[in-house]
């Protein structure tokens, strides 16, 4: 019965209270968004590569190597020679080694030059192999396999004809339009950068650059597709390689050998170790983000406190009337605590919905621009304690105005003349 009264009272002041709810909703949306992105970043990175024991590339930062080879973030500082690839592949402890050649793109999606064995050996998540949704791995020189997002966003199916662009980025001016590819396979969605990649063979990378020099076509040299097919398309370089070991025990030994290799500056990293480095880097930013979003929630609650305290002046008479008909002081406190709880609950609910809505809208941007794959836009149950904390803090916020109102009615008695 007291709740109906509190509801009616709040409803009569809905124009002011709307903004309180809005403030809380926005702060909760921010908090949820930050939490969501934080956990998704972790999941997304952890999911991206598994079953690979070593990643080998040109010497440089360990983190940089995993970022460009697996996550397609940034670019390689240098290529490595094909001879090194062959040497490592022929090591007695190596079960498999797959090349990765980057540098070209297709409508903003990265092109990965590799071998057909990549589709057998590359794993994501908990040792899940890649699965073809349609078609199969490339066989012919001008065959291509596309990731799930590429197929979905560009409407590709097996049999679609595509041309690649030189360089990375959606606005490339040098097109490899004289060497069209046909899509022979579409991969199932993995929620990793694989979904945003176009795969062709390492030989095809050589083929599309035949007659090119330093990133542009050599004038006057027109080599037909038939002529290209006849050539020996032995790649000379590659960007990085993925290595699977026969026995995990030999991983460190090979890593040391590669890192100490004199003929070429190479480095080998363990994906898990590189990811660990990434977490250490990210943790600082994570904590800063959480702190900021926590502060925003606090600001929202303080805003509500200010509004509730201000409203007391106008509600003096309301309180006096209730006291005159026998309402006890705790009724008055309950009235205000109920209001602050109500506002917090509504604000939190709207905030959660808002964060889901924003994530749905931001999802494509996050995937394309930052390589961040959001698996589900819904909120996980893990956030419930946090949300309950916000509501509880909101409810507690009502205690202070409640106490002030109680003091006021005690002083006014029945003679508040406002």
């Amino acid at each position: 019965m007291l709740f109906n009264l509190a509801l009616a009272s709040s409803w009569s002041r809905r124009h002011t209270l709307f903004f309180v709810v809005l403030t809380i909703a926005l702060s909760v949306a921010l908090l949820m968004g930050v939490e969501k992105i934080r956990t998704e970043v972790r999941d997304s990175f952890n999911r991206s590569v598994s079953g690979t024991d070593l990643i080998v590339g040109a010497r440089g930062g360990e983190l940089q190597l995993i970022l460009y080879s697996i996550f397609h973030i940034g670019q390689a500082s240098n290529n490595i020679s094909w001879a090194s690839f062959e040497l490592i592949k022929s090591n007695k402890n190596v079960a498999w080694a797959e090349p990765i050649s980057l540098g070209d793109s297709h409508k903003g999606f990265r092109v990965v030059g590799t071998s057909s064995g990549f589709f057998e050996h590359y794993q994501t998540g908990q040792q899940q192999p890649l699965v073809f949704q349609k078609g199969m791995a490339f066989n012919d020189l001008f065959d291509a396999v596309v990731g799930a997002d590429v197929a979905r966003q560009l409407g590709y199916q097996t049999g679609s004809r595509i041309t690649l662009s030189h360089g990375i980025g959606s606005a490339s001016f040098s097109e490899h339009d004289d060497r069209p590819f046909s899509v022979v396979g579409v991969l199932k969605s993995t929620g990793t950068p694989i979904d945003q990649s176009v795969f062709i063979s390492s030989e095809a990378i050589v083929a599309i650059h035949d007659g090119w020099q330093s990133g542009s076509r050599i004038r006057g040299q027109q080599v037909s597709i038939e002529e290209v097919r006849k050539k020996v398309l032995q790649p000379k370089e590659l960007t990085a390689m993925l290595v699977g070991m026969k026995s995990k025990l030999s991983t460190f030994h090979l890593q040391r050998q590669i890192n100490n290799y004199k003929a070429e500056p190479l480095q080998a990293v363990l994906p898990g170790v590189a990811l660990q480095q990434l977490w250490q880097l990210i943790r600082v930013a994570e904590n800063a983000l959480r702190l900021v979003s926590g502060a925003v929630v606090l600001a929202g609650l303080i805003g509500m406190l200010a509004v509730l305290l201000t409203s007391l002046g106008a509600r003096r008479k309301e309180m006096a009337i209730l006291r005159s008909i026998g309402a006890r002081p705790w009724h008055i406190i309950i009235l205000l605590v109920f209001e602050s709880t109500l506002l917090s609950v509504i604000g939190t609910l709207i905030g959660v919905l808002l964060s889901i809505g924003i994530l749905i809208l931001a999802k494509p941007v996050l995937e394309n621009q930052f390589g961040l794959f959001i698996q589900s836009t819904g909120q996980s149950l893990d956030d419930i304690p946090l949300l309950a904390g916000v509501v509880l803090a909101g409810a507690a916020t009502g205690l202070w105005p409640g106490y002030r109102a109680y003091q006021m009615t005690a002083a006014d008695g029945l003679t508040a003349r406002c």
Binding site: A8, R328, G413
Partner: protein
């Protein structure tokens, strides 16, 4: 039998400056009493004492046979809910509630008055409607007018309905006519007295306006009964 008894009641906000000092005052059951006093004569303090919101430093106040000065604060709140109807000078109503809900509000904090209202009219809502109709607010009730669209006089009549619902023993009115013009005032007072008589309730009306005194059984001048206010009034 006396419904309201004040015995040696002394109250001071600050020690040594008593605002209320009433040696003896008795009001009989069913009496209509006019307590006249200018502003500053301790009227507000007396009302807060009678409703149990303030406790005197010494003395005893008895209402309907119960010594409210020996009750705990929450017992006094419950006592007020059950036995006292209160009418403010103005702005008696909660603007976000309907006319009927404003009247029914008095039964929300008192089971006793709720039970009485149900016994009298069948339900609390019906009791509220009956009172509003008796007080000439049938049209406003059926039109479901919001409280804010009522005139001041009409609002005061709704306040009377709220004070009367569930027939409390004592009705206390604090300058209920000060915002009304003379004609409205007279109709209002006559209506109030009629309703109170029908229910055999005791009425205490406090006002500075001594032209009201002919309507009442008895007039008490606060100056005469309150020894404290005599010296430093005004």
């Amino acid at each position: 039998m006396a419904t309201v008894t004040l015995d040696q009641v002394k109250f001071a906000w600050k020690p040594g400056a008593p605002v209320i000092d009433i040696p003896k005052c008795e009001i009989q059951s069913g009496e209509h009493i006019f307590i006249q006093g200018p502003s500053g004569s301790g009227k507000s303090t007396l009302l807060n004492l009678l409703t149990g919101l303030l406790l005197p430093q010494s003395g005893e106040i008895k209402i309907a046979g119960c010594s409210i000065t020996s009750l705990s604060p929450s017992e006094r709140d419950r006592f007020r809910a059950d036995h006292v109807g209160f009418i403010f000078q103005m702005f008696n109503l909660l603007p976000y509630l309907s006319l009927r809900d404003n009247v029914m509000l008095a039964c929300r904090f008192s089971t006793l008055r709720k039970q009485r209202a149900i016994a009298q009219a069948g339900s609390v809502a019906q009791a509220a409607d009956q009172l509003l109709i008796e007080l000439g607010l049938e049209k406003q009730l059926s039109k479901r007018l919001p409280v804010a669209e009522l005139s001041v006089g009409q609002q005061q009549r709704v306040a009377v309905a709220r004070a009367l619902i569930g027939s409390p023993d004592v009705l206390i009115a604090d300058e209920p006519t000060s915002a009304l013009d003379r004609t409205t005032r007279d109709t209002f007072i006559q209506l109030l007295l009629k309703e109170v008589s029908q229910r055999n309730s005791t009425l205490l009306l406090v006002s500075h306006d001594d032209t009201l005194s002919p309507f009442f059984d008895r007039t008490l001048s606060l100056h005469q009964i309150n020894c404290a206010g005599a010296s430093d009034a005004i």
